[in-house]
């Protein structure tokens, strides 16, 4: 098991890299330079070039800018819903529990991708973006987070735990925010939030790749913006044909790995003692 502080350091470092890439993303790709087509990382630092001689660094930056805010936002929404689920269990009301269960049952009864595609139909072609899809994904992921946080709160003693701490003279805010949320719900909430951020990133890559495969516009970003899926698309032919694009594939997979490591490390850093 990786030490908590080390995990936090690695997770935050990944987040900083991701934010750095996203915030420094250029609005448009560079002008094509056909003399520098498919150059490797050694010739065009740091990641090489695409089929028009444009640096892949710009693909990585624009892809990061596409996923950065929506994935973090989805993570925050799921984390907040997890906190709500845990706190509601501490209220100890059977009616509230039933209402939460009914919400989870209805929201979680359909395959997520089907709901996402129906939501995607709503987005006008001119206003395409990941944010509405990320929000829909967060709502779909919320029942799981609420349920898990509620289980933690129940193991803790639920309403009796709150009552006991109040009897010790603790204030409401200290009982709920410190003892319940920070000390006990933290591992579940952070893990669910980090996993949702990772899933939204994967969702963007999947939707953009599927659209690119059919030569259609992606639901997640404007046509003049490149996604990390474009790196996979450029790199894929290197697997089956003699095309020198493996550097794009490696970069695409490395970026997927970056997000995965970030999610795992942040979850690990928040784990219970």
């Amino acid at each position: 098991m990786i030490p908590r502080k080390l995990a936090l350091g690695i997770g935050l470092a990944c987040l900083v890299v991701l934010m750095g890439l996203g915030l420094l993303a250029p609005a448009h790709l560079s002008v094509p330079d056909l003399a520098r087509v498919y150059e490797g990382p050694g010739d065009m630092f740091p990641f090489g070039s695409d089929q028009r001689g444009r640096p892949l660094l710009e693909y990585a930056q624009q892809g990061a800018s596409v996923i950065l805010f929506p994935s973090l936002f989805a993570g925050v929404v799921v984390g907040a819903m997890g906190v709500v689920g845990g706190l509601l269990r501490c209220v100890g009301s059977a009616r509230v529990d039933t209402a939460v269960q009914a919400f989870g049952e209805i929201v979680g009864s359909l395959p997520r991708m089907v709901v996402i595609l129906v939501v995607a139909l709503l987005i006008p072609a001119g206003d395409r973006g990941l944010l509405p899809l990320a929000l829909a994904w967060a709502i779909l992921a919320s029942p799981g987070a609420m349920d898990e946080a509620a289980s933690v709160a129940e193991r803790l003693g639920g309403a009796r735990f709150v009552e006991a701490l109040r009897a010790h003279g603790f204030s409401w805010s200290r009982v709920f925010l410190y003892h319940i949320v920070l000390l006990n719900l933290r591992p579940v909430v952070v893990r669910q939030a980090a996993e949702t951020a990772m899933q939204v990133t994967f969702l963007e890559i999947a939707l953009s790749y599927l659209a690119a495969q059919e030569n259609q516009s992606s639901f997640t970003h404007a046509d003049d913006i490149k996604s990390w899926a474009n790196l996979l698309e450029i790199g894929y032919p290197s697997l089956v044909l003699d095309v020198p694009t493996s550097h794009a594939l490696v970069l695409g997979l490395a970026l997927v790995g970056l997000v995965t490591v970030m999610s795992l490390m942040l979850s690990s850093a928040a784990r219970a003692r």
Partner: protein
């Protein structure tokens, strides 16, 4: 929760409502979008018969007329025609081709999950294998599917759409569905956690003291939870079919739904999403039925056989 029937009742209600709610929402979306729905099929600038087409496809009388006509048709097996994807082709024909393929894909994808669950419940798959399963599960479906697509092209090249290659596609699709996005890891760890929690119950300890096998004793009590996990796994597979079918070029409902969404073909999206909703409803029904059967049959107070009562009375008398 005191009322045991509440959870299955909510599920039964959701199972009945879902196949109607999904097309109702999509119908509302069609009218919520800017412009006349008939123009999605036949823009006035391009073709002249927009009004006639709207009348023929029930798009001229508002959302309720369209929805009621569509549901009546769907109950008879007529899902209308494709608007854009394969314009004019009956969607029922497209579904007839797609549903069996997706069913095979889902069933094949369930095989590793069921085997993993059985292995975890019986202890055949040890706990130390969990990190490896979790590591494999971190690979997103789209990346896994890409690697499999490359494998198909390398093996079959130009003949990658013949019957043998199609079977290979479905097999690899099932592998992707079964192992990517944490499907296998979720199945094994979920079932293991369930049985480990149940193993701590007092009745299992009593069963062990009586020389009985714990699994046989636990199984009736964990069946509702297992049904819930099975539903979650199948939903996960259904969700993954969209990515797997499109990347591996398998003609299933997921591929149909994606094509329909991409081209704003509401005829196809309505039918494909309703098919997914009906499947989800069937899963909810299965879970609710399991919960009701367990509550009524398994969890009732055990009836002591007359012979056991006689024996106890004789012992007491002697």
């Amino acid at each position: 929760m005191k009322a045991w029937w509440l959870r299955p009742a909510v599920r039964l209600l959701a199972a009945i409502v879902l196949p109607f709610a999904v097309p109702a929402i999509i119908t509302a979306l069609i009218w919520a979008l800017p412009g006349d729905p008939a123009e999605i099929i036949c823009p006035r600038e391009i073709c002249g018969g927009t009004d006639a087409l709207a009348a023929r496809w029930n798009l001229d009388g508002g959302p309720w007329k369209f929805f009621s006509a569509w549901v009546q048709g769907a109950l008879r097996g007529d899902f209308g025609n494709s608007w854009r994807l394969q314009q004019g082709v009956p969607v029922a024909d497209l579904l007839r081709e797609a549903v069996p393929t997706t069913s095979i894909l889902i069933l094949a994808g369930l095989v590793p999950l069921v085997l993993g669950a059985i292995g975890a419940a019986t202890g055949i798959i040890p706990r130390r294998a969990d990190p490896a399963a979790s590591a494999i599960g971190l690979v997103p479906a789209v990346v896994f599917a890409l690697l499999c697509a490359a494998l198909i092209e390398l093996n079959y090249g130009a003949e990658s759409f013949n019957l043998e290659a199609t079977r290979f596609r479905i097999l690899l699709g099932a592998v992707v569905l079964g192992f990517s996005d944490g499907a296998f890891a979720g199945a094994t760890t979920g079932v293991r956690a369930l049985f480990r929690t149940e193993l701590k119950q007092r009745y299992v300890g009593v069963a062990l003291l009586r020389g009985e096998r714990p699994l046989v004793n636990m199984l009736p009590n964990v069946t509702p939870a297992l049904a819930g996990q099975l539903r979650a796994r199948v939903l996960h597979l259904l969700s993954g079919t969209v990515v797997v079918e499109v990347v591996l070029r398998i003609n299933g409902i997921g591929d149909l739904l994606w094509g329909g969404t991409l081209l704003q073909d509401f005829g196809v999206v309505l039918a494909a999403a309703t098919a997914f909703a009906a499947l989800s409803g069937a899963l909810l029904l299965l879970q609710a039925t399991t919960e009701i059967v367990v509550a009524l049959v398994v969890r009732r107070s055990p009836v002591i056989p007359a012979a056991v009562v006689d024996q106890a009375q004789r012992r007491a008398a002697s």
